[in-house]
């Protein structure tokens, strides 16, 4: 390392990103460069530890300091990744578990690391397996934000979403049209931004 840096500085930067993401309620781009430099720092620190002579007795102070830096950096790395998958799961539930809807959003997808895309896929299949334990009567992935007051909803089509099976038979939702439909049939389309309540 030729650039002078305090131990733990990169870790702090990483945590700052997580905090910024929480404060602005946004899913930020995966900071691959920072993660990589932190991992490199960890390897260097491990080498530095190996280079310290240590034979019994109380450990030399240098070793304790470096070990503390290693522990801290590692927790920062894990915390950063844990915070991101928490946000991904929030995102997943906010669109009612519609994975294709998230993955087809190029802007969003560009902010995920490849491992995060894999994670989301695995998470989705785990949820689908859990969901299949319930009868089709109850879709556990449906919205739980506002308790239903009315069984029907007047909706306006914002984006074409093709033919959807409803209680009234199949309806071809075309942009600009309005329908009075059973809320439970189309709630997921509102969540995904195809329909808008009037």
């Amino acid at each position: 390392m030729n650039d002078a840096r305090q131990y733990g500085e990169l870790g702090t930067q990483l945590l700052l990103e997580s905090r910024r993401s929480t404060q602005t309620d946004t899913f930020l781009k995966y900071n691959d460069t920072l993660v990589r430099s932190l991992i490199r720092e960890q390897r260097d620190l491990e080498k530095a530890i190996d280079a310290i002579p240590f034979e019994g007795g109380s450990p030399p102070p240098a070793l304790l300091i470096i070990q503390t830096a290693i522990n801290r950096n590692k927790r920062c790395l894990l915390a950063y990744h844990a915070h991101r998958v928490d946000r991904l799961r929030d995102l997943y539930w906010s669109v009612g578990g519609a994975l294709p809807h998230i993955l087809s959003n190029q802007e969003l997808r560009g902010r995920m690391s490849p491992h995060e895309v894999d994670y989301l896929r695995q998470y989705n299949s785990s949820i689908m397996e859990f969901r299949s334990e319930f009868t089709h009567e109850l879709d556990v992935t449906a919205s739980i934000t506002i308790p239903p007051k009315d069984i029907h909803a007047l909706v306006r089509v914002v984006r074409d979403c093709g033919v959807i099976q409803t209680e009234l038979g199949s309806i071809d939702f075309k942009k600009g049209q309005r329908f009075m439909v059973r809320r439970a049939d189309i709630e997921h389309l509102i969540v995904q931004g195809y329909l808008e309540e009037v």
């Binding site: 993660v35 290693i70 894990l78 998958v85 799961r89 949820i127 009567e137 739980i144």
Partner: protein, 244 residues
């Protein structure tokens, strides 16, 4: 059940038919009903039970015992109601009054489903949050349904795997583990924080509740108090208090 609906054109609004007794609002209980031997509590309807368990689950830091029997009874009932509604709606001889009742029942079905969903999802949220703790703790596992246990193990697995692929595999061997226990660091396994404060509402008289400092607290029926979850944990489990 279906035949009965079909021939008599009768459709009870939710609790009426399920319980065969008029629902009594629980909250009007007088606070001076102190003798538990003379005054038994009116039994709760399944919906009231579900609502209580739902609120408890939402407020408790820990994962509470799964209410499998109650839930499956509820789901069966929902299904029967939906089938009855479907039949009656298609029947041309249903009267206008009947149609209004059908609409009420449908709305009620959607509202009950909302509670069931919210209950299931609240548990799911906690199970995911404490997934690694759940997989290593037999006591919590007993409080989960089989499906929830499976989800917990799957979740712990994919999360560990994600950490491994994104971080741990690139670190030197000595650092590549998820079970570090350095001093002054919080544990790597997140556990429910039972010392979190909760609001409790006494459903019966609860005497001699031991507080952490050794003092005792008596709660009359209907009283509301703010205390640590660990203090009232057993009372919640026995249904003597509810979290609000």
């Amino acid at each position: 059940m279906l035949q009965h609906y079909h021939h008599n054109h009768e459709l009870g609004v939710w609790d009426e038919e399920y319980e065969q007794r008029p629902p009594t609002p629980r909250r009007t209980d007088s606070p001076d009903d102190i003798n538990p031997f003379l005054l038994e509590r009116t039994p709760e309807t399944p919906l009231e039970q579900l609502t209580r368990h739902w609120l408890n689950e939402r407020h408790a830091p820990d994962i509470l015992p799964a209410q499998e029997e109650l839930l499956s009874g509820m789901l069966d009932h929902l299904r029967r109601q939906s089938e009855a509604v479907h039949l009656l709606r298609g029947d041309p001889s249903s009267s206008d009054e009947e149609h209004i009742r059908i609409m009420l029942v449908q709305t009620e079905i959607e509202r009950v489903k909302f509670i069931v969903r919210s209950y299931v999802r609240t548990r799911l949220f906690k199970i995911e949050k404490y997934a690694r703790f759940v997989t290593s703790n037999a006591d919590v596992q007993r409080r989960l349904t089989a499906a929830e246990r499976d989800h917990a193990s799957r979740h712990a697995k994919i999360t560990d795997q994600h950490f491994y692929l994104s971080v741990l595999q690139s670190l030197p061997d000595a650092q590549a583990h998820l079970d570090d226990t350095p001093v002054f660091y919080p544990s790597m396994v997140t556990e429910p924080d039972k010392s979190r404060p909760v609001f409790v509402h006494a459903l019966t008289r609860c005497s001699q509740i031991t507080l952490p400092d050794g003092a005792t607290l008596d709660m009359e029926k209907g009283h509301i108090s703010l205390t640590l979850y660990s203090v009232v944990e057993q009372l919640v489990a026995r249904g003597e208090v509810e979290l609000i």
